[in-house]
């Protein structure tokens, strides 16, 4: 990228994809923004009219909004916590020289390739089902009452399912990071008298901090919009106990046919996502520099 020609050439070659990306992003965003100011209900077609910020007022004062807002934060935070702690543990295990290590690594990655609806259904019907599920059988076998996961702890159940899906991703990123750690540093720490725990705290963890940052940023983007797992398991219930913002917007616009209200919710979600993004970048983004 040294000369003027190569810079201009690079810009020209980037141009089509930038235009495409902008169109893909800007057009739906503008349409959503436009709908969010309309009284637009699919049950009364043709009666759209401009109602200002009324949609926003309704959406933001809806008790379901606060419930789903906190559910979203809990869902994102819970999954991040589990996948990063579990991911570090798995990465350290997978880094050990064990027989058939390559096969184990592929196996560990498997959940990431299962589509969300399928894995949620497997969890719902085969594992967490209070009558036929594996967990219920196990509970009966040790003599306690089976837990009805989706009725008693709906949000936690969804956190567990989503964590299971994202754990391999975190483990893989952290594993590659661990593998890039200079072995001589660990040997130097050995000679310096650091035990396994000290080595983990003072050598491995600081080395992993950049990878952890990347995992947090990438996962947050995807976790803010978790939808399929909720749809096929709890449908947001009981009540609003497992409704997140994405799911609330879906109920608003497609179950209640209120396109205007749903669009307002969508814009609110975009703003919240941006706040979270700015917050995250401020908090941990400096780890990615240099």
């Amino acid at each position: 990228m040294a000369t003027m020609q190569s810079r201009n050439l690079a810009r020209m070659m980037l141009f089509p994809s930038v235009v495409l990306l902008l169109a893909w992003m800007i057009v739906p965003l503008c349409m959503t923004l436009y709908f969010s100011f309309l009284d637009y209900n699919l049950l009364t077609p043709g009666s759209e009219e401009f109602i200002g910020f009324l949609n926003y007022e309704f959406f933001l004062t809806d008790p379901a909004f606060f419930a789903s807002f906190f559910n979203t934060l809990l869902l994102v935070g819970g999954v991040l916590l589990i996948t990063i702690c579990g991911g570090i543990g798995l990465a350290i295990l997978l880094d050990q020289a064990i027989w058939g290590r390559n096969y184990v690594r592929i196996m560990v990655l498997a959940p990431f390739f299962v589509m969300p609806t399928v894995s949620a259904l497997v969890w719902k019907n085969m594992l967490m089902n209070p009558v036929n599920g594996l967990f219920a059988h196990f509970a009966i076998w040790i003599g306690v009452e089976p837990v009805d996961f989706f009725a008693q702890v709906p949000l936690l159940s969804i956190i567990i399912i989503v964590s299971w899906q994202w754990l391999p991703f975190a483990a893989l990123i952290l594993l590659t990071s661990i593998q890039s750690l200079d072995r001589e540093q660990l040997e130097a720490a050995d000679l310096d008298g650091a035990g396994p725990f000290s080595k983990f705290i003072y050598i491995v963890m600081p080395h992993l901090s950049r990878a952890i940052t990347a995992v947090i940023l990438i996962e947050t983007i995807f976790l803010l919009s978790i939808f399929a797992e909720i749809l096929v398991t709890t449908s947001g219930g009981p009540g609003y106990a497992s409704t997140n913002l994405t799911y609330l917007i879906y109920t608003q616009s497609l179950l209640q046919f209120d396109v205007g209200g749903g669009s307002a919710g969508g814009i609110v979600a975009v703003i919240i996502a941006n706040i979270v993004a700015i917050f995250l970048m401020r908090l941990i983004g400096k780890n990615l520099e240099d």
Binding site: E184, E187, L191, D192, G193, H207, S209
Partner: protein, 340 residues
């Protein structure tokens, strides 16, 4: 105290014998250099002494105590790695303090030790920088600083200068030698560079394919190498080897002459050849001379050598500087040599 004794030490990786049985006595306060071509086992032996590699058989005694199975931290040794192995996220100060903090030393004492190490190694200005902000030579000093604050009974250096540029290497060589004189601690230094070995060592151990070929002071190795390998490895440029035809009653199969002992003569010498490439270094000149039936010979001449490419020259060497080797490469007692 820092005497280390290796008794019949071996190391195998799978089926490969990396270290064949080695016996070596390293005296307290000595600067010993392990030198040899890459893959000869010198670094592995150093890592075994440090405790980073298991010893397959044999014993390693440190200060008279059997330390063969002692964990690295308990051996009282400090190591400087080729890559320096500084902790990148810690400041220089914390890097140096790390082993002391692990040893639960009181903070005031740690501060005092850091200050004294910084003074010895001229690190005062960099104490609060990260290793990434330092040059190669400075990182090297920090790595040495981290080693000296522990007051080890011996220092282990694993090719510490190989990542530095040539002029810095010369400086650091001096600094490490100086440090050895100041601290008066045993140092084991691994290198593949025979110049480093010659300039720094009290004694040199020449390694080849997992065995020690010869141990001795630099001048012993230079003047009386016990075999062709040591003769060829010590000295720069390399010794010239000239294969000779076997004569009844003389086991000599090869003679060796160092470039600095080869002379151009007006009389009929031992060999005649044509001057090839000439390397002028200013203070001296290296001539590459093609001798028919012998191959290229290197000759070290004065800086103002008048010879030119393509000149015909007669070469000779003092009889007492010509070394004789038998078919197995062992050095033979000198006998008069009259050319081939």
């Amino acid at each position: 105290m820092g005497s280390i004794t290796l008794k019949q030490v071996t190391k195998t990786f799978g089926d490969v014998n990396v270290i064949k049985p080695i016996d070596l006595q390293i005296h307290d306060g000595e600067f010993i250099v392990f030198v040899g071509p890459s893959g000869c086992g010198k670094s592995t032996l150093l890592r075994m002494i440090a405790g980073l590699e298991d010893t397959t058989s044999g014993n390693i005694d440190i200060d008279g105590q059997d330390a063969t199975n002692t964990p690295p931290a308990k051996r009282g040794l400090a190591m400087v790695f080729q890559s320096y192995a500084l902790y990148p996220h810690m400041s220089v100060r914390n890097n140096i303090a790390f082993p002391l903090k692990r040893a639960k030393m009181p903070p005031a004492e740690i501060e005092a030790k850091i200050a004294s190490a910084a003074k010895i190694l001229n690190l005062g200005d960099y104490l609060d920088r990260k290793p990434g902000q330092l040059s190669g030579g400075q990182r090297q000093r920090v790595a040495i600083g981290r080693a000296i604050v522990r007051q080890p009974s011996a220092f282990l250096f694993d090719e510490p200068l190989s990542n530095l540029d040539a002029s810095l290497r010369v400086n650091m060589r001096l600094e490490i030698s100086e440090l050895h004189k100041t601290l008066d601690t045993t140092m084991i230094y691994v290198t593949h560079d025979q110049v480093e070995a010659m300039t720094m060592a009290d004694r040199i151990a020449v390694f080849n394919a997992g065995v020690i070929e010869q141990v001795g002071t630099p001048l012993e190795l230079y003047q009386t190498p016990i075999n062709r390998f040591v003769a060829g490895f010590i000295g720069s440029p390399k010794m010239n080897f000239i294969e000779v035809e076997a004569v009844d009653g003389d086991p000599t199969s090869c003679v060796g002459v160092r470039p600095e002992h080869l002379k151009v003569t007006q009389d009929k010498g031992l060999w005649t050849g044509k001057v090839g490439v000439i390397e002028h270094l200013g203070s001296e000149t290296f001539l590459h001379i093609h001798v028919d039936g012998v191959g290229p010979l290197t000759l070290k001449a004065d800086g103002d050598c008048p010879l030119k490419y393509g000149d015909d020259v007669n070469l000779t060497a003092p009889q007492n500087k010509i070394m004789h080797f038998d078919a197995a490469g062992k050095t033979l007692p000198a006998t008069p040599f009259s050319g081939n």
